[in-house]
């Protein structure tokens, strides 16, 4: 792979402009809310306004009699219908499986969080449905709510689920067998640094709220769901097999243009099952469009960990052991991948970029009367990175050593590297990314910039950190052992048409990632044709053979690899056809720049001649090869991929108000090989923006009764353009992945994983420059919190 990637004009390595942006920027996208079916009805959900309560009566007759109302559904209508399933079963440190409560489509008996759907009115218009929902007579006996995780685990705490033994979902230890050795290493340590911190609860807030349209064809008995999903095939499986009992061949799920997901659109939601169910019950298409207010209380939230981390060092400042205790909020129900996030996507990353020989991670997952919590951009890896990179910075403070030097001293430098937390990093070069970071961040010039800020009455701070993530999710054999109830391969069908154009049907879903541009670059390079000859289709279970979807920075690494494998089959068959056309041996055929030639001769046929022969097989070896040119491949990765990097943030703090301003931000990433550097830049920019959002602005807050205080953009602070600086982004450090055919690692989550600790490290550094004895501030670092920290 050439290093001067930006110089390429097309194919792998070219900064091809995103072809999908033409429709996104001109208002001609086709989002789920743009889909309106004949005879479509609308649903409005009556949601709980209390966090915990028992439904004592629900009277729907008046609502059902309202104008335009087709039917009012309650939990009773869903008796015998399946529970919204959880896709991952974690086994605890004692060998017991997690506690797994039922999750009804509509509340049955109890409500467990503000926003829990209780009843659903289907009517001719959305307004009529909402009017009628207000006429439902509902009595709820309010019960004490549990919001704080420690309180939820206390003896005698109110139980979110009466049929569970407690609010503890699981008590997970990793690696349990290492616990005694880790404790011993702490006893022998020359220095121990300890830090307690919160990883703040976030609301994903993609630009497009969730929408679902259910449809039913009485003539065929087929159901269709149009939905805002990152993985329509997964929804088809979860909803069809576990909730509604519809086999795959009778259920089609379509996720058309999707306006951002960030994890929150991975999961199967009750509203999807409701619309599909109601469409059949009423023989009408049924549509639900979430309002932003509903999104705040029904989309799965992210993060929400409370952690104590301890780092042991020897007398030479080598890391000797790491120990963490985390409480992870599950919310009121187990969302699709919730149990995996604080465990296998978090514990396995605790080694970070460092050769710490002994690590023990304990995670207690807790049910509370809050919205379910699940994967949000990075999912477990930001939580791991944040605590590790914060405790290292604190250790450097306590030891009086340079935080960059302390990191460099402890870097893993030899690969492959088997961590003490069960994963094997195939490649990486942490020294190279740190060197690159020091260059692009101009670390050497910081002192002068600090002096300049001080002259302006501002405190300037520099924060640096590293990150590692496990992407390209995931080897099915491995995740099966870890409790996944799904495989995590990907599939692709490559269909070559008679005139040489190609349609690829991929199970990877694009909702902002630019697959429609980057995937064709790969195929165009393999065959030597123009990118414009390749189109990508995704998002419809009737197209791609199967798909596990887009999350975990997996699309190119896993979905792209499936596409490569299918294209290799295409090329192999095309070579046979070419050999026949040129009356040569298969083995002598070479493909270059879209021309098949016979090695050592001047004979050649063009790509289009071969594809035409495949579909017009007049002169064709029918006894040896089938006509047509279409191949499918499934690809299951051999390992995770391990993108890594080093980030630097420079802030100015207003000492009078505590207001933090990000002045500079630099990111040096190793994503392995790069297909489209412009798209990679954009992914990193967006990720850092979300990381800065978490670090400075975003915080989802409940009061002690379980009322959501940050329930709208009036109180939930999203990052805006003027909250973020221009970024210095570099991805020229490339250690290709060794086990996928493209050598790619994935770039979608890095920014969100790598940036929060850099921001917090920088603010702590700034305050200490003014003599403030501050070692940590919990996110978001609002002006009020920073000011309070300065007051001591």
């Amino acid at each position: 792979m050439p290093k001067d990637i930006d110089a390429k004009e097309s194919g792998i390595g070219a900064a091809s402009k995103r072809r999908e942006d033409i429709r996104f920027l001109s208002g001609t996208g086709n989002y789920t809310d743009d889909i309106n079916l004949n005879g479509q009805a609308y649903v409005h959900f009556l949601r709980s306004d209390v966090a915990h309560g028992r439904i004592t009566s629900i009277e729907t007759a008046a609502a059902a009699a309202m104008p335009g109302v087709l039917r009012v559904f309650t939990g009773a209508d869903f008796e015998g219908v399946g529970s919204i399933p959880c896709g991952w079963q974690v086994t605890d440190r004692f060998g017991e499986v997690m506690q797994e409560p039922a999750h009804p489509v509509l509340a049955q008996g109890k409500v467990r969080h503000v926003g829990d759907p209780i009843a659903a009115v289907v009517a001719e218009t959305a307004e009529a449905a909402r009017d009628a929902a207000e006429a439902i007579e509902l009595d709820i006996e309010e019960l004490p709510a549990v919001v704080d995780m420690k309180a939820a685990l206390a003896e005698g705490a109110p139980k979110v689920h009466d049929d569970l033994t407690s609010n503890l979902c699981y008590d997970w230890g990793f690696v349990e067998e290492n616990k005694a050795a880790v404790d011993a290493a702490f006893d022998a340590a020359a220095h121990v640094t300890s830090l307690e911190l919160v990883n703040n609860r976030l609301v994903a807030n993609p630009m497009e709220p969730r929408v679902a349209v259910g449809d039913f064809n009485r003539a065929t008995g087929d159901s269709t769901l149009y939905t805002t999903s990152q993985n329509p095939h997964v929804i088809r499986l979860l909803m069809g097999a576990f909730v509604l009992g519809i086999p795959e061949h009778k259920l089609r799920v379509v996720a058309p243009d999707v306006g951002g997901g960030f994890g929150s659109k991975i999961f199967h939601y009750a509203e999807e099952a409701f619309c599909t169910f109601a469409a059949k019950a009423l023989n009408r298409a049924v549509k639900w469009t979430s309002s932003r207010s509903e999104a705040f209380m029904s989309d799965a939230h992210g993060r929400d960990h409370v952690t104590k981390i301890e780092l042991a060092l020897d007398a030479d400042n080598n890391f000797t052991a790491l120990r963490t205790d985390t409480l992870a909020n599950m919310g009121a129900y187990l969302s699709t991948f919730a149990p995996s996030v604080p465990t296998w996507l978090h514990g396995t990353l605790m080694a970070g970029n460092y050769k710490t020989p002994l690590i023990y991670v304990n995670v207690k997952a807790v049910f509370t009367n809050t919205v379910p919590v699940d994967a949000y951009r990075g999912a477990g890896r930001p939580e791991a990175t944040f605590q590790l990179e914060r405790v290292i910075d604190k250790a450097a403070l306590e030891l009086g050593v340079d935080p960059i030097a302390l990191r460099r001293q402890n870097f893993i430098t030899e690969f492959p590297y088997a961590t003490p937390v069960a994963v094997e990093y195939d490649t990486g070069d942490y020294v190279a990314t740190m060197d690159k970071l020091e260059e692009i961040a101009d670390i050497a010039g910081f002192a002068a910039r600090r002096a300049e800020s001080e002259r302006a009455g501002k405190l300037r701070g520099l924060g640096v950190n590293c990150y590692i993530e496990a992407c390209g999710i995931a080897p099915s054999n491995l995740v099966g052992q870890l409790g996944a109830r799904a495989g995590l391969y990907e599939s692709a069908t490559v269909r070559v048409n008679a005139t040489g154009g190609i349609v690829v049907m991929t199970g990877s879903h694009s909702h902002g990632q630019g697959h429609e541009t980057s995937f064709p670059q790969v195929i165009a390079s393999m065959i030597g044709i123009d990118e414009d000859m390749v189109e990508i289709e995704h998002g419809d279970t009737n197209n791609a053979p199967m798909g596990m979807g887009t999350y975990g920075s997996r699309s190119l690494a896993v979905g792209g690899s499936a596409m490569v494998r299918a294209t290799e089959k295409i090329i192999a068959k095309a070579k046979k056809i070419a050999a026949h056309l040129m009356e040569a041996a298969d083995a002598d055929i070479e493909l270059k720049d879209g021309q098949f030639s016979v090695a050592g001769t001047d004979k050649s046929v063009a790509w289009g001649d071969v594809t035409l022969a495949a579909y017009v097989p007049h002169n064709y070896p029918l006894e040896e090869i089938e006509p047509g040119l279409e191949e499918t491949a499934f690809y299951d990765p051999a390992n995770f991929t391990y993108p890594s990097g080093a980030y630097a943030c420079e802030v100015e703090v207003d000492p009078e108000t505590g207001k933090v301003s990000i002045e500079r931000f630099a990111a040096a990433d190793d994503f392995g090989n790069i297909v489209n550097p412009m798209i990679v830049d954009g992914q990193v920019h967006g990720g850092i923006g979300q990381g800065i959002g978490q670090a400075l602005l975003e915080g989802c807050v409940y009061d002690e009764n379980g009322q959501l205080l940050s329930a709208s953009f009036m109180d939930y602070a999203m990052p805006r353009a003027d909250d973020v600086p221009f970024y210095a982004v570099d991805h020229s450090c490339q250690t290709p992945c060794t086990h996928n055919p493209l050598g790619v690692k994935g770039c979608g989550e890095a920014g969100a994983i790598g940036s929060p600790p850099a921001v917090v490290n920088a603010v702590v550094n700034a305050l200490r420059s003014a003599g403030k004895d501050v070692t940590h501030i919990d996110m978001p670092l609002s002006p009020a919190r920073v000011w309070a920290a300065m007051q001591g």
Binding site: E656, L696, L709, D715, S782, P783, A784
Partner: protein, 262 residues
């Protein structure tokens, strides 16, 4: 939102008549009312839009002052058209975002009297006169606590008369999410004294900081108030900042306003 009738009168007299029907509601720029209706938190029978009322349009300077601004004038119009009172124009240009500034009106803002809105600080800090369809009210008498004013049922803010100070400045420290004022301080220096009005901070809505006014009247420098404090009791405390933090910001923003206007 629930269904309602909509009317857009052309004169104050017509507007007053329209507002006399039961459960009628005046609509200024709708930047508070429309979201409230969308949330179904209000159920007026008739919305009376004031945007077409002839007497409520325009900005005009009477001699050397006051600057008279029609109640239906938008924030964007004030930002670009109140050059005679630069501090006021600058304040208007910092309200919300362009969409808000192109719809929201000064009359609507003052009638609503949101405790975190900017205009109440300008009106109180300037000692403005609120002109309604039936009377003229001094700003000191007009603001009566959070979302509460001296306006009676059906009374309309037709115009606001701003005396033009020798120097003035508004400093806003924004709440991170809404970007309303967490603390906003308007300082205005007149020949006969200095006025300091604070928005965003108090549970009682906009207020004058008397101690700071006295100190600044004697010595219009930031140092004159560096040791003055407002009582944290009575300040707003919420997820964005404690009472003590807001009390602290009142001093910081006042000093900055003095610096910027001096």
């Amino acid at each position: 939102m629930y269904e309602f009738e909509f009317t857009r009168p052309a004169s104050v007299a017509e507007a007053v008549a329209a507002l006399s029907t039961e459960d009628a509601q005046a609509l200024g720029g709708g930047q508070t009312l429309i979201p409230t209706l969308k949330q179904r938190l209000a159920m007026p029978t008739t919305l009376v839009s004031l945007s077409g009322v002839a007497e409520m349009q325009g900005i005009r300077l009477e001699g050397d002052g006051p600057l008279v601004i029609g109640g239906a004038v938008t924030h964007a119009q004030v930002a670009s058209g109140a050059g005679a009172y630069p501090a006021l124009a600058a304040l208007a240009g910092q309200i919300g975002d362009p969409a808000v500034r192109n719809r929201g009106t000064i009359g609507g803002s003052l009638a609503n009297n949101d405790p975190a809105a900017c205009y109440p600080a300008a009106a109180l800090g300037s000692g403005a006169t609120i002109v309604t369809n039936i009377r003229e009210l001094a700003a000191d008498d007009y603001f009566q606590g959070m979302f509460t004013t001296a306006l009676e049922e059906g009374e309309i803010v037709v115009a606001v008369k701003f005396p033009i100070p020798d120097a003035a400045n508004y400093q806003k420290f924004v709440q991170p999410a809404s970007r309303f004022a967490m603390v906003g301080v308007f300082v205005a220096r007149f020949a006969d004294g200095v006025r300091v009005a604070v928005t965003g901070a108090s549970e009682e809505g906009v207020f004058r900081w008397a101690e700071a006014e006295a100190a600044l009247t004697a010595n219009f420098t930031p140092d004159a108030i560096s040791t003055l404090t407002v009582d944290a009791d009575g300040m707003i405390g919420d997820i964005h900042g404690t009472k003590a933090y807001r009390a602290h910001l009142v001093n910081v923003m006042t000093r900055r306003a003095v610096s910027a206007s001096a």
